[in-house]
Symmetry: none
Subunit: 465 residues, 2 copies
């Protein structure tokens, strides 16, 4: 039975339905709330007395009174001793927009770098580890925990980076974070607090880092990268006291920091008591030779190394780590505590279990094969369809750079490729001065099957000449 | 001669004994070390100034200073030019490394507030939802995602806060975050960017918020709380343009913001174009009457409401949400992107599934019963063993305040309770000026079984008189 509310009451309609879920009191309250919110009841407007309201609705007076009291407690209504109950306030309805998620242009062949193969996420292994953790987690594991991260994961990460990256780290050097971005922000916050002013970044490089540096109250300076990686002599001239580098596989050029440069960089850090921030983002995947060890292993007191599982497992996990000198790690833990109280506990335990079980290593081995196949497909497709195009930066990871002939309009190539539903990124977007270097395309091949790589390259090869 | 350290100092006791072996400096250092290791001093906690410490202990200021310096060098304490000395986050001793959380004092009966029942985490339901997500997750779900949070979760959260909290929100008003701390940091960062200067906090309240406000480059101002909640007239006098409130169940007093104050607060916000930041932390658990709706529902354009599952499920999940006016939510999403690229995707999908399935509601219903039982146990135990002790703030959540007789030394009560392995927190640690209000004990009963509550209260009841 639906009851219309009209007549002597204000000019709006409330329906109470005895067949609907929820008590009549709940319905009345919700109807009143929504009438106030929508403006059907305006501020100061007088409500019917509980007596007349109860009569019109055919409900008890007590029900109306308690509903009025509830809404008064919530601030929708105002009742002052003796006088009528009135509408208290005009809550504007929130600006609810249609859920417009910012989505990337849907390209059939998207070569933008930075994405691992998302279809290969080892969901079965992950769920196995979830089950193990669910069976063994203690009550304390569900509470607030050490902001540095759970010791189980810090132990496993320390031994992983020692084994795989040649790092010099114990659990006390590790701070668990949500990935490179947060790891860098924590590091920059600590450096800013310590009085640092200038932080150098690679050019070309991720320009976004300059923005993060600025947000930390520091000044970014750009240092060029050549075929041997960061030009350390130029770094020394900047008066920066920290530098962010991608030594194992430079972003975006893919060059590996040459041994002499590694040495020079660490000497620089020692001489000026500077800090080297190592973005160790895709070093697990190396093809031509043995992995180049982490810089951190060479100079544990001057290097902060940031790693994550965003490339090795999936970005959606949002788990990473900072390996830092003990004193820095302690300060970072405080930053982490202020930022978010620590990373999710269950996720940390699951990752620790996955890594300790050997399943993580097995996944990495499998993916090395997958990416090696895709890398070969890219090399072959370019050789077949655009034999004159030089491809560099292939030593590791899942992106490489194709040089364009001098004078080529990089932007025009990208636009023309997009017309053919092939997504490309140029080098210009990685340069502090977009046109300061030769044109080139950064081909990411992590999340494209071999067949797609071949078809995609065939579709745009003519543009590269 | 034993010297008690209490009063304005943190809630723990240190004894220096001039008859004992070792210098007083050694004793002080060892006492501080063990307080940090045992968790009696928690990470981030502020130590008294060397001046006031030396006065209370009856030793020279130089002795205190050199002890602080020594412990700073050892990594137990952190001191930064100008600001207070605090407990560091990395006590470098192996016993802590092996031990549990840095905050957990080893008390048999720990009444410190803010922890839900960690043993009741619905692991079976959580794993069920994990399984559902594992079966249905797409490759895209494993990648980088919308920094506001996945639309699946934002939809479910919006409908949850509409239904349970009377909020006025759609998915576009929701930003998923890691909990209250991050939600507040995102909010403060946006307000600072918009040119705000001063943010008011409740006094007594979580003093840590003042620290977060300072870190955002803003100035905290303290506004008193009385039996009706925040004194809005005093707020208006501060020239603050934002205020952080706990209207449903004030932290720590437990009072509910009175209807007239709710009204006055929203009028204040409207008049000064201010922002009310609502910490909606434990409103799911309400005993005496129906839930008081969220302030956000009354004034969706002036209120930012922050909620999480830290109390309703478990802190370790690190999942929460900000409900904000659309424009603010959009700016917060950018802050979230810079902070950590978004919260973990799988966790978001699991929570969305759990909430949409009705299992979350079922858990809440069950826990309401559990907490109501513990609340009753606390009330009864105090009535039986310390009938003169007034207990207030019982309307919601899982903490209440026991008033101590005027003139009682709160710190001494806490210290004496600790001797009996009963962990207590006093009101002083929540006050900008520790001794500015009447003494009282904040009893958290969320994570203690009824029997433990009874035994714990019986053990210390004599101290409350």
């Amino acid at each position: 039975m639906a009851v219309d509310w009209s007549g002597s009451t204000p000019s709006f309609l409330l329906g109470l339905d005895r067949d609907k879920r929820g008590t009549l009191g709940d319905q009345l309250q919700e109807a009143l709330r929504s009438a106030v919110r929508s403006g059907r009841l305006s501020p100061g407007e007088r409500l019917p007395s509980s007596r007349s309201m109860s009569k019109e609705l055919g409900v008890s007076r007590g029900l109306v009174q308690s509903s009025y009291e509830q809404l008064e407690a919530e601030g929708y209504l105002l009742a002052r001793g003796g006088s009528a109950t009135r509408v208290a306030f005009t809550p504007q309805s929130s600006d609810v927009e249609a859920g417009a998620t910012p989505t990337a242009a849907a390209m059939t062949y998207d070569f933008s770098p930075g994405r691992p193969d998302l279809r290969s996420f080892p969901m079965r292994d992950w769920m196995w580890a979830c089950g193990e953790v669910a069976r063994s987690a203690s009550a304390a594991d569900m509470g607030y925990a050490d902001p540095r991260g759970l010791v189980q994961l810090r132990d496993v990460v320390a031994s992983y980076v020692r084994r795989v990256r040649g790092s010099a780290a114990g659990a006390a050097n590790v701070v668990v974070c949500s990935g490179f971005t947060q790891g860098l922000s924590l590091t920059l916050a600590v450096l800013a607090r310590r009085g640092m002013r200038r932080v150098a970044v690679e050019d070309p490089g991720h320009l976004e880092m300059a923005e993060l540096i600025r947000r930390a109250g520091l000044e970014p300076v750009f240092v060029p990268v050549d075929v041997d990686g960061l030009v350390v002599d130029d770094l020394a001239a900047t008066a920066a006291s920290a530098v962010i580098v991608t030594p194992a596989h430079q972003t975006p050029t893919g060059v590996v920091l040459a041994p002499s440069r590694r040495q020079a960089l660490l000497t620089w850090a020692k001489d000026c008591e500077g800090i080297v921030i190592e973005d160790d983002y895709d070093s697990e995947f190396r093809y031509d030779k043995k992995p180049v060890g982490s810089l951190q292993g060479l100079s544990a007191d001057r290097v902060v190394s940031i790693g994550s599982v965003s490339k090795s497992l999936a970005p959606a996990l949002r788990l990473g780590w900072v390996v830092a000198p003990g004193a820095l790690a302690a300060e970072m833990a405080e930053e982490k505590y202020r930022a978010d109280r620590g990373s999710p506990g269950l996720d940390q335990l699951v990752l620790a279990r996955l890594m300790a079980s050997g399943r993580f290593d097995r996944h990495l081995r499998r993916m090395r094969g997958v990416y090696a196949g895709r890398r070969a497909a890219l090399v072959e497709a370019l050789a077949a369809h655009s034999p004159g195009t030089p491809l560099t930066g292939l030593a590791a990871g899942f992106h490489a750079v194709a040089g364009l002939p001098p004078g080529t309009d990089e932007g025009a190539v990208i636009a023309a490729a997009a017309e053919r539903s092939v997504g490309l990124q140029g080098l210009a977007r990685y340069r502090s001065d977009p046109l300061s270097g030769p044109p080139g395309i950064v081909f990411g091949f992590g999340d494209l099957r071999e067949a797609s790589i071949r078809t995609g390259i065939a579709a745009i090869a003519d543009l590269l000449n």
